[in-house]
């Protein structure tokens, strides 16, 4: 009798979740809503890569394009923007930080610049076979004011996090389940998702989501 009651209760809860889905979850969390003053057109600068001999920086950048675009931002194509920088001798992030915001707006039409740094656990996964954790940090500077509008950190799963998360973070639910699965196959992808959409300071939803 008792186990049947439990089953009924569980089925009722299932029903609640199935029908309301993310509305139910969203109600319990302060999901940042679209902020019209927030930069919507983003320029991504090649990350500072502190994992020598790895392509973690390039992978993080590629996955950042995916995550930010799905979150509703227009992301300027990084291979093209990087090539423009390189042609003019700007190879390092610090150099790009010194460029006048007005110039970046004028050339790229960018509203915000994202500066990324990638770090790792230091394990050479090619030797040991253990997948190295990717730690990413990022900063978004508003080119209209020159001020930092957002800062965040994110890690790949198993990159030092103790609690294994069953539920995606509320902002991560903007990313469809099937894409989340693909993202989670890559350490850089996980780090990018956690960086931009996780925990304490997720980015607000971008202006180009067709919801």
């Amino acid at each position: 009798m008792r186990s049947r009651m439990r089953r009924v209760v569980l089925l009722v809860i299932l029903g609640m979740f199935s029908s309301s889905g993310c509305t139910f979850i969203g109600a319990n969390n302060s999901t940042p809503r679209f902020n019209q003053s927030f930069p919507g057109v983003l320029l991504l600068v090649p990350p500072v890569n502190r994992i020598p001999g790895s392509s973690a920086g390039e992978n993080l950048l590629a996955w950042s394009v995916v995550i930010l675009s799905e979150a509703g931002y227009y992301v300027l194509p990084p291979a093209l923007t990087s090539e423009v920088f390189a042609r003019h001798g700007f190879k390092r992030q610090e150099q790009i930080r010194n460029i006048a915001p007005e110039k970046l707006r004028r050339i790229f039409g960018a509203e915000g610049v994202v500066y990324l740094t990638v770090d790792g656990t230091g394990i050479n996964h090619r030797v040991s076979g253990i997948r190295a954790g990717v730690h990413a940090s990022g900063e978004l500077v508003d080119l209209r004011s020159g001020r930092t509008r957002w800062k965040g950190r994110g890690e790949s799963e198993g990159g030092g996090r103790t609690a294994s998360k069953l539920l995606p973070e509320p902002m991560q639910m903007m990313i469809s389940g099937e894409l989340r699965m693909k993202v989670s196959e890559s350490a850089a992808g996980q780090a990018a998702m956690n960086l931009f959409l996780n925990g304490d300071s997720p980015l607000p939803q971008g202006p180009y989501r067709r919801d």
């Binding site: 089953r7 299932l14 920086g57 390039e58 590629a62 931002y73 291979a79 639910m173 389940g177």
Partner: protein, 114 residues
């Protein structure tokens, strides 16, 4: 029973965003390779074009920067006409890219050398 519960739970949550906004295909891989340099340009053009066709057939939208990236590949393959067409397509799909696409198309940026 608890496994079933978790399955339903996961399914209902994944229903929050049913489908991705965009069809990504090989794009994330192409971006990463492009940033690392030294790659098979014609092979990548083929990949990107094939996926673009299948996305069109399925009525899916290609992501921001997809056409621009394809344009860059064409530039590197020495095909300026296709490069221009792709940059203009990017601008048409995503008007906010217009400033940058115009910059690339104008003579101001000494074109991509073959």
């Amino acid at each position: 029973m608890s496994r079933l519960f978790l399955l339903f739970f996961a399914v209902s949550l994944s229903g929050c965003a049913q489908h991705p906004l965009y069809a990504w295909g090989p794009f994330d891989d192409v971006i990463s390779r492009a940033l690392q340099g030294g790659r098979n340009v014609n092979g990548e053009i083929l990949r990107m074009e094939q996926f673009a066709r299948s996305a069109a057939m399925l009525g899916q939208k290609l992501p921001p920067g997809y056409h621009a990236q394809l344009g860059l590949l064409y530039a590197e393959a020495g095909n300026e006409d296709h490069m221009e067409a792709e940059y203009m397509q990017e601008k048409s799909l995503y008007p906010v890219s217009g400033i940058f696409m115009d910059f690339l198309l104008s003579g101001r940026e000494a074109g991509y050398e073959k």
